[in-house]
Symmetry: C2
Subunit: 402 residues, 2 copies
């Protein structure tokens, strides 16, 4: 944990990936993040993957370093407590991250009566409030039909919930931005982040939409070819599959050098009357001519020969390794100082990451595990809401909290 | 444009997707973002997709609302100017976003001699400084081998550069967070955000790594099946492909209702001695038994029959539509108030988005197009660096700026 966000008190009333990711990023930068859930857990409390004892590895991954409060959110008294938490006190409190509906008991209009300068960041599915999740948003914008081998027309869903993750990071950004604005003006606001708008704006920012307007149809699927440049998967003589990529002139010339392809490519350039070095688009246009040269070069060498030449030349490449191999890769997991061994609520001890970014001049604090569900209920009710031990005891007796 | 970040002066010395996305998000929230590039454009200036006149739709998408300064970054004088810009003056200046190497002329150590409280957010490939891009990081963590149809072992790259995008959003978050810390303590810092650590931490946050440690191997590929719950693509009688998803009990019961599957599924539950409603994992475990029921139900109905029933029941579903259809979808592009018609540097006029999030209480300002390369060189040299007209003229004469 770093302490950039020391002093912030963020309350998270959320589930699934996007909003909890936002809370996680904030916690890893030093904010106090209090997550409330229904007693027994929210809709994501049992999400796969699971430990052998049935605990969710997913839940304990996304809620590291947060405090947990369990509330009966179906009861009026429980809802009142959730509202009071959402509008938590403190100079840098009143920061609420949620995926609850716009119009429900956690609406901005309701909450701002409790704290006028509340900042509420709300993850949504579709911008109009209708039900949408990462996979259905993704199917609506064409990417599954652009993904996968050229010889297979079936749509291919992504396995990584990219829209959820991007929305979570974007929400963390908007929350701290709104806090800066509140410091300046004293005003809070609601910020709505629908997955549908995250996806639509992203495809526009990357030029996909303008391209489709001009062409009348979306980019066709092209397997693993990198669009508009040179890049693809290749197989070495010893059967290793790797990804090779060359966008800049330097990346291109280094790849040719390492593969011994300078002369063959020069001959092709002469034949076609083009220069591949200075225009990555030409490499893409003529990729059907270039691929056989590369395939042949790779087929003549084992990975053990190629790797040192690639690394010495600064070529952009990498093998396709399964995650079990990545776990032993010192650059990713094994010796990565971002990870620390932590005992988790599942009872298992395994490496867990702190913040994804590294601040060389600051010490990384310890990585804190996820809480047990309701672990901080009493602490939070006492310290944040100022309830007495008797009042808290009564709430337990009434099964309003757990 | 919203004005949450009014008064921030951010300088971007960057290329490709991640760091420019960070700058874009900051600009859309009201920061002044000054991008500098080599004269003639950086390595991403001609990236596809292109307009008919050769201008990059990609570049003009990712640089909307920024100012552009063109500098000869190979010359000592040009490098000095870039350094002075990176350490720009102003109470909320000295904010630099880059993907230049850790050790080069834009190193944090160099820049902080120019401004002690500098905040430098640096996108990297691999954390050790070696060359890595989205596609090679992705191939290193196993996702391409988890993606695509079960009956095809070929690795499938993602088409959306998810690691770049997530890194960009995360950098915007860390930059504002570091500014909040600077307001508190007066101290700046360098923040390094390597794609490799963004990817490794994400797979850990979602439970992929713990799952792989326990199983000894990564999750096998499973086509479009949603892991640990119920979800997949189905085809209707009239040949429409749609994505159906049910994670919560409500999503599940609504889907069964709309498809007329309550009795058939109850019979299967009785046979298996399970309850699908309360445990989404069981729906996944027994999906081979459930799929035929759903396939049959969809094969008996046209989309026009199913859609109203799904929508009335709040079912989570969506068709697979190509991007050209999405462009006519009022929820995504056609009537989406996030988009405005803008004339771009390519000379084309087409809708471009402002911020992905919506702040209901604040007015959306106009969407500003990307600059022409070097459009603000003189203005920035005069206003930010305080150079005289004569000095600026001399720099032009020497081809140090353009």
């Amino acid at each position: 944990m770093y302490d950039l966000l020391k002093g912030l008190r963020v309350v998270e009333g959320a589930a699934f990936v996007a909003a909890p990711t936002c809370g996680l990023y904030l916690a890893q930068m030093g904010a106090e993040v209090i997550r409330f859930d229904n007693i027994g857990g929210g809709p994501d409390f049992h999400r796969w993957p699971l430990a052998d004892n049935g605990m969710s590895l997913y839940w304990e991954g996304l809620n590291k370093g947060k405090k947990s409060v369990a509330i009966d959110l179906t009861s009026p008294k429980g809802r009142e407590i959730a509202q009071a938490l959402a509008a938590s006190p403190g100079a840098d409190g009143g920061l609420f991250v949620t995926n609850f509906p716009v119009d429900g008991f956690l609406s901005y209009e309701t909450l701002k009566t409790l704290r006028a300068d509340l900042i509420c960041v709300r993850v949504m599915g579709w911008a109009d409030g209708s039900q949408g999740m990462d996979y259905t948003i993704n199917s609506a914008i064409g990417l599954p039909q652009m993904t996968g081998p050229v010889d297979d027309p079936r749509p291919v869903n992504h396995v990584l919930a990219a829209w959820d993750l991007l929305t979570g990071a974007y929400c963390a950004f908007t929350l701290v931005s709104a806090l800066l604005a509140r410091h300046r003006t004293g005003e809070g606001r609601e910020i709505r982040a629908p997955l549908s708008d995250i996806a639509a704006t992203t495809l526009a920012n990357l030029g996909f939409t303008a391209e489709t307007m001009l062409a009348g149809r979306q980019r066709p699927r092209m397997g693993n070819d990198v669009y508009g440049a040179f890049g693809r998967d290749f197989v070495t003589r010893d059967g290793q599959t790797l990804m090779l990529l060359a966008i800049t002139p330097r990346q291109w010339s280094k790849a040719l050098e390492a593969l011994g392809l300078k002369e063959a490519v020069a001959a092709l350039e002469a034949e076609l009357g083009v220069s591949f070095a200075t225009d990555e688009g030409l490499r893409f246009t003529h990729r059907a001519r270039l691929y056989p040269l590369f395939e042949q070069a790779f087929a003549g060498k084992d990975l053990a020969e190629i790797a040192p030449a690639f690394d010495a030349g600064g070529v952009t490449w990498g093998t396709y390794q399964p995650l079990e191999a990545a776990l032993n890769d010192p650059r990713l997991f094994k010796d990565n100082p971002v990870f620390q061994d932590v005992r988790h609520p599942s009872g298992l001890t395994y490496p867990a990451p702190g913040a994804a970014a590294t601040i060389p001049q600051d010490a990384r604090g310890p990585v804190a595990p996820a809480p047990r569900l309701g672990q901080h209920t009493d602490e939070v009710l006492a310290e944040i809401l100022g309830l007495s031990a008797a009042e808290i005891g009564k709430l337990h007796d009434q099964a309003v909290v757990a």
